[in-house]
Symmetry: none
Subunit: 416 residues, 2 copies
């Protein structure tokens, strides 16, 4: 997949086309081997396409098919494949009508360029714009397909023209890979790997396992080819999941969006519980995360953002002595915050969180990253202290995630 | 710029690293020639890096430096450059300490791989994670730099290690384009363009103006080449800004981070005011936005997340009749929320916000996207109604932005 455009190389535009095509090709079972981005330079486009056609049986090129002088893809690819460009009468007619509708009397020369087709190439109609897609075959039988860069046009042509063409051309290749994602929380990547190795000492056959870590957790991707049918493939992933279960049962959570807050919401709903929060260092982030999801009013009541200490002792009603004795970042304060949130908002569960997100405010005893969070649930309050690495944003995200994870484990009876 | 990772080729993850690096390299004046994405296949990584090193003087590779068996970048690049990998004692020490902090007695073998450095290579410390960046020189004098794939780690290493290295190495290439960003809020792109056309009817010479819209506002980028020195270039941008001033003065705000919340924070600090919020549909987002910034405790006290109506009438103390009469999404409720927040938290300013973020809950009179927000400041309460387009996330972001913009204009005396 080759994307053409200076705006991509300047970083002013994300290459969403590349990602989208990757996803679509994977979906229909074709393996994407390589993706490239080049600027609006004829030689660079030629080189990228030539190199791609050496390594892959199908090359998709997006961008550079429009009417402006910096649209050079058509010419670059034609010369790369050593074919002439010829004017297509039907395209000229369609473009003329299109330009007339916009108030032009005749088709301008620039617009006319969009009617040029490589000799022997196939035109793929564009349902949403002027420049059509083009499909052609190289001397080595390899296929090169040109698509406009405007995402909606590119997607329309792909779905209507390219996908059917590829399915017809490679019927035996379209054995989809079956993926299954398992979300985990509360365990770092390397520790998860070590634990998984104890239950899965050798790489299993026919299935594969990938770790996809992000700032707050690790997703596991279980994959297998489904040459022998969806059912067998699905059974292979079931077996792999069963083998991993002793480890995963401690860390996994179910959420279609991959978001831990969604799992917490479902667990609250199942348990018939409501949640209130009292946030200091996260400043509203947990409430924001919980209400990102539609329907959260069924279990999330709200909370108090007690950023200033006066709000902790005032509106939230903590005893002043508590802050003085143990300090604001302490088990006692986090626990009292969780309890007071639940009481004040008449919720069945409360989260309290207090910490030092930095960059300043740390001390030797309580360095930046020190966070105490507590969950109050069913007349019981559990508190945890953590020292999170990273900058202010990471510490806050990890703190929110830690508190939500503790609540989830308590709701599911997984916390001792 | 080469990005490594199966998840990128499957379309499961966007290649945000490629875009970000493109933008940074452009900013310091280096031209990005080619970007590539390859999977976790040693041969493919080698081929991509070898080809990149033929075409460009500097090659940046992201991803594949972690501890898992599918992290192959280090090995692939070393063999591509024909250098051995050797263990770095300082790195072993750092990694051992890191793993000990997480409860490991010794450094596991997998973790140890992150201490391997190509012979003669330079270690670029990772401020946010375990795997360091690595810089090495090929036989042809060309530079290859390896960075982890986790965006925050990659960015941290680039800024601290790679940017200084490139600036030192290519001092004569860094004929920067001088950019100046002007942040605006409260005006849509097309209206801003129309207004700017009234003060700038023709494209100015030697300078250029780009509109960078995002979900909540439009940034203007003023650019000029600085071949004739920084001072002349800077004067050209000054002149352009002066011409635009009649329009910009109504919409611009000053914030180094580009974040409207930063401008609000500075304005509160200048005015010696403190802020409390009462959030319904945004669920904590405004508090989160205000406390994203370090030092926000000087002006942000906290607030009440009044997501459930019982919290609005209970903890926040709104009269029940108010909700029944005018409905929860109304001028009266938003205004009362702003006032109660200020009173309860003893703040000099209060924000109240209530609306329908969707996807459900809309009606004919109050469709999804209807938001009332109010600001209470100095014995005066100003409320606004808006109908925001977009999905739940966009509506919430725009609502928070709208309320912060209103507060800023009131603090700066720009609101009538």
């Amino acid at each position: 997949v080759v994307a053409v455009g200076d705006e991509l190389l300047y970083g002013q535009t994300m290459n969403t086309n590349g990602s989208w095509l990757s996803g679509e090709l994977s979906r229909i079972g074709l393996k994407v081997r390589h993706r490239a981005v080049v600027g609006d330079v004829e030689g660079d486009i030629q080189a990228a396409v030539a190199s791609a056609m050496e390594g892959s049986e199908v090359v998709l090129v997006t961008g550079g098919l429009g009417p402006t002088p910096d649209d050079l893809t058509r010419e670059a690819v034609a010369s790369c494949l050593e074919v002439a460009l010829v004017e297509d009468a039907a395209l000229v007619e369609g473009l003329t009508a299109r330009f007339k509708a916009r108030g032009y009397e005749t088709l301008p020369d620039q617009g006319r360029r969009m009617a040029m087709v490589p000799l022997g190439g196939e035109v793929l109609p564009n349902p949403h714009g002027a420049a059509p897609g083009l499909a052609m075959e190289g001397k080595n039988g390899r296929i090169c397909i040109l698509l406009p860069g405007v995402p909606r046009e590119m997607r329309g042509i792909f779905t209507r023209g390219v996908e059917p063409l590829l399915k017809e051309r490679f019927p035996d290749r379209l054995q989809e890979i079956l993926h299954r994602i398992v979300n985990t929380h509360g365990v770092p990547e390397s520790m998860l790997m070590d634990e998984i190795r104890t239950v899965l000492p050798e790489d299993p056959r026919q299935v594969s396992l990938a770790y996809l870590p992000d700032e707050v957790g690790v997703r596991l991707r279980l994959s297998t080819r489904q040459e022998d049918g969806l059912e067998s493939a699905s059974r292979r992933l079931d077996r792999l999941e069963q083998m991993l279960e002793p480890v995963l049962s401690r860390y996994r959570y179910e959420a279609r969006s991959g978001d831990l807050a969604e799992a917490v919401g479902s667990a609250l709903l199942r348990a018939g519980k409501t949640l209130a929060v009292a946030e200091s260092c996260t400043g509203g982030l947990i409430g924001k995360r919980m209400t990102d999801l539609p329907g959260s009013s069924r279990y999330f009541l709200g909370g108090v953002v007690a950023y200033a200490n006066e709000v902790k002792t005032g509106l939230l009603g903590l005893e002043g002595g508590l802050l003085a004795e143990d300090g604001v970042v302490s088990r006692e304060v986090a626990s009292a915050m969780a309890e007071r949130a639940a009481i004040l908002l008449r919720a069945s569960a409360g989260i309290g969180i207090t910490g030092i997100a930095g960059p300043s405010g740390g001390s030797r005893e309580k360095p930046v990253g020190t966070v105490w969070y507590a969950v109050h649930l069913d007349d019981r309050t559990v508190a945890r202290k953590e020292l999170f690495p990273g900058d202010r944003t990471a510490i806050r995200a990890r703190a929110a995630h830690g508190a939500l994870g503790l609540l989830l484990r308590l709701l599911e009876g997984r916390e001792g």
